[in-house]
């Protein structure tokens, strides 16, 4: 069966005054029907830009230079802006990081949900739209939806705002949802609520979910497959369980080691250094300046994506020789 989304060789660069930022540099990305994929990496690794590219809403001065984005068998890069607008929100939707600013402060939440519904279903009557808004609010477990539709964003808590934002993204029943760090700005208990909500909705609504996050805990909890990005390139793609058990890329290992564990009294391992400057990225493997296993070849040759014995896709010269620690 063909995948729901199949991205190949995506390159999105930002043409800034300081130089060309290679934010996404040849990324392949696949999402099957009805699955949850984690898109993982540090800030600046290209997770968000990848998803914005797929929706073709890369902000200025960014541009998609190369690649193909096949969605439900059609190439999104070949579509006109008008055709894309009909896909955004209706078939592919996205929620954003910061629930405090992801809703317009001037309008009631009811009218903001209605806006999306009306945008994609022009012939619905006012009453039908309101009914649907209430249904959406019930779906994301907002109590007293009939009252809440008249509330303004500033009257709601962060968790509620994030749930409204999710409801808005699901308003037209998309088949693919990008959730960009949906829990980053929320309290821990609220995080759990939002995560379980997303998990349930994904099953009920029969859609695919892409979790964009840097939190390996969330990855373990909700995803079936993980794609690890580093500095705009794919580091590793694997089944979630197998990735946690036995990572094949040193960067994945470092990410897993950086998660605090309550059952092991160890110092937390930090990944030394920062994500590289993407205007002038390191030669060869982009991770080599921070990699404890780096050798001569890593500075010279970009490692190809290879399939390992346990089915991982990994971009590392030494995956055969390394025995890396899981979580």
């Amino acid at each position: 069966m063909e995948p729901l989304l199949d991205v190949k060789g995506l390159k999105t660069y930002f043409f800034t005054e300081a130089g060309i930022v290679k934010a996404v540099d040849g990324v392949d990305f696949k999402v099957e029907k009805d699955e949850t994929v984690g898109l993982v990496g540090e800030s600046g690794s290209g997770k968000t830009v990848t998803s914005l590219s797929i929706m073709r809403i890369v902000p200025q001065p960014g541009r998609i230079l190369a690649g193909s984005i096949m969605f439900e068998g059609e190439d999104l890069l070949a579509k006109s802006e008008d055709e894309m607008r009909k896909i955004r929100g209706a078939k592919i939707a996205m929620t954003f990081q910061d629930p405090t600013t992801s809703l317009n402060p001037l309008y009631t939440i009811g009218s903001q949900l209605a806006e999306v519904i009306r945008e994609h279903n022009k012939d619905l009557s006012k009453k039908q739209v309101t009914e649907q808004v209430i249904k959406l609010l019930e779906m994301v477990r907002i109590s007293e939806p009939e009252l809440r539709i008249k509330a303004y964003p500033h009257e709601l808590s962060g968790g509620m705002k994030q749930r409204i934002a999710i409801a808005r993204a699901l308003a037209c029943g998309p088949s693919l949802l990008f959730a960009d760090e949906p829990t980053t700005n929320l309290d821990v208990t609220v995080q759990a609520q939002v995560l379980s909500l997303l998990k349930d909705l994904r099953q009920k609504e029969k859609m695919s979910l892409v979790m964009i996050t840097h939190d390996m805990g969330i990855v373990a909890e909700v995803t079936q497959r993980v794609q690890v990005l580093y500095a705009g390139m794919v580091a590793e793609v694997a089944d979630t369980r197998s990735l946690f058990k036995k990572p094949s890329h040193p960067y994945t290992e470092a990410l897993l080691q950086a998660v605090p564990r309550i059952d092991q009294r160890k110092d937390l391992k930090v990944i030394p250094g920062n994500i590289p400057n993407l205007i002038d990225p390191p030669s060869g493997c982009r991770f080599h300046p921070r990699c404890p296993y780096a050798q001569e070849i890593c500075t010279k040759k970009v490692p190809p994506l290879e399939v390992t014995d346990n089915g991982h896709l990994v971009a590392c010269h030494f995956w055969r020789n390394l025995s890396l620690a899981g979580a």
Partner: protein, 311 residues
């Protein structure tokens, strides 16, 4: 950081328990509640409303028509304040009280009208400057800065003199209104541009883009309405400035000689200030309170609506 935020929220919750319980309060409603608690702002609002009332009804309130020297023929020129002439009469025979009332009409017309013109121009130019990135936006910003830097008063005086010969008399106030409006939009434009640069990066803009909203809808439904709060605040302060400038222009004799304004009355009386203080003092006080009122209102609005000052 997180702990700090929480304690802060708790204290504000206590203060606003009564207000947050009500449902469905728009930002404006919340702003009004905050505004009501600000005594200076409220005073400003009452002053402004009072002036607007005077301006709208001056033709019925004033005992004498505008620029009428009737008291001279009644032998009552140069009299101190009395029951018949509450603010006295000028040497030439103007009833100062009537002139102050009619002046409110003329000066508010110029102050509010010029601001309206500036807001319109400033909104459009600021929105374009904020929306276009790169060279075109920078160029518009540069033009705005030029308008901001040039000394307005001499320029307006020059234009007022040049056009005064051309324009049929009686349109003098409208001419000053247009001049003030066309040259005074830069602050509005800066404010709008800055707000648009800020708002366009907020996530609800990205979110509505990601959910299929058209570019047109994003600009006019989501971005521009969010810039209105600071525009209203700036406009209120701009009205005060425009009134003051109009008074200066009239005082310097560049205004419309056939229409009552505070400036022209002050000018008539200033020579005889020593003996007949009432002629310049009352229109001067009228100017003072008008400017004060609009400034207080602007400050009050700013305190109530500015998100950065919000607790």
């Amino acid at each position: 950081m997180r702990i700090f935020k929480k304690t802060k929220q708790k204290t504000t919750n206590k203060q606003e328990t009564t207000t947050t319980q009500r449902r469905g309060a728009s930002q404006w409603a919340v702003g009004w509640r905050r505004f009501k608690r600000n005594k200076a702002g409220l005073a400003g609002l009452f002053i402004v409303l009072f002036y607007i009332f005077i301006a709208l009804t001056s033709q019925w309130l004033a005992p004498y028509p505008p620029r009428s020297y009737l008291p001279l023929y009644q032998g009552e020129a140069g009299q101190p304040p009395s029951w018949k002439h509450p603010f006295g009469t000028s040497k030439a025979g103007l009833d100062v009280f009537s002139e102050v009332l009619h002046g409110a009409r003329g000066d508010l017309y110029v102050g509010v009208g010029a601001t309206a013109v500036s807001v319109l121009i400033g909104l459009v130019i600021g929105a374009i400057a904020g929306y276009l990135r790169g060279g075109a936006g920078d160029f518009i910003l540069m033009i705005t800065q030029v308008f901001y830097t040039i000394p307005l008063l001499p320029l307006i005086l020059l234009f007022a003199r040049v056009f005064m010969i051309l324009v049929a008399q009686g349109f003098g106030l409208t001419l000053i209104l247009l001049l003030l409006g066309f040259f005074g939009w830069s602050t509005i434009s800066f404010v709008v541009r800055g707000e648009i640069l800020r708002i366009r990066e907020l996530e609800f803009v990205k979110a509505s883009q990601a959910l299929g909203a058209s570019r047109w809808r994003i600009i006019f439904h989501h971005i521009v309405p969010n810039t209105l709060t600071p525009v209203i605040i700036t406009a209120s302060l701009l009205i005060a400035g425009n009134i003051l400038t109009e008074v200066v222009i009239s005082f310097l004799g560049f205004g419309d000689a056939n229409t009552s304004t505070w400036g022209i009355t002050i000018q008539e009386g200033i020579t005889y200030m020593r003996t007949e203080w009432w002629t310049p003092v009352f229109p001067g006080l009228a100017t003072l309170f008008a400017v004060l009122g609009f400034n207080l209102l602007g400050d009050g609005l700013s305190d109530a609506l500015n998100p950065r000052l919000r607790d």
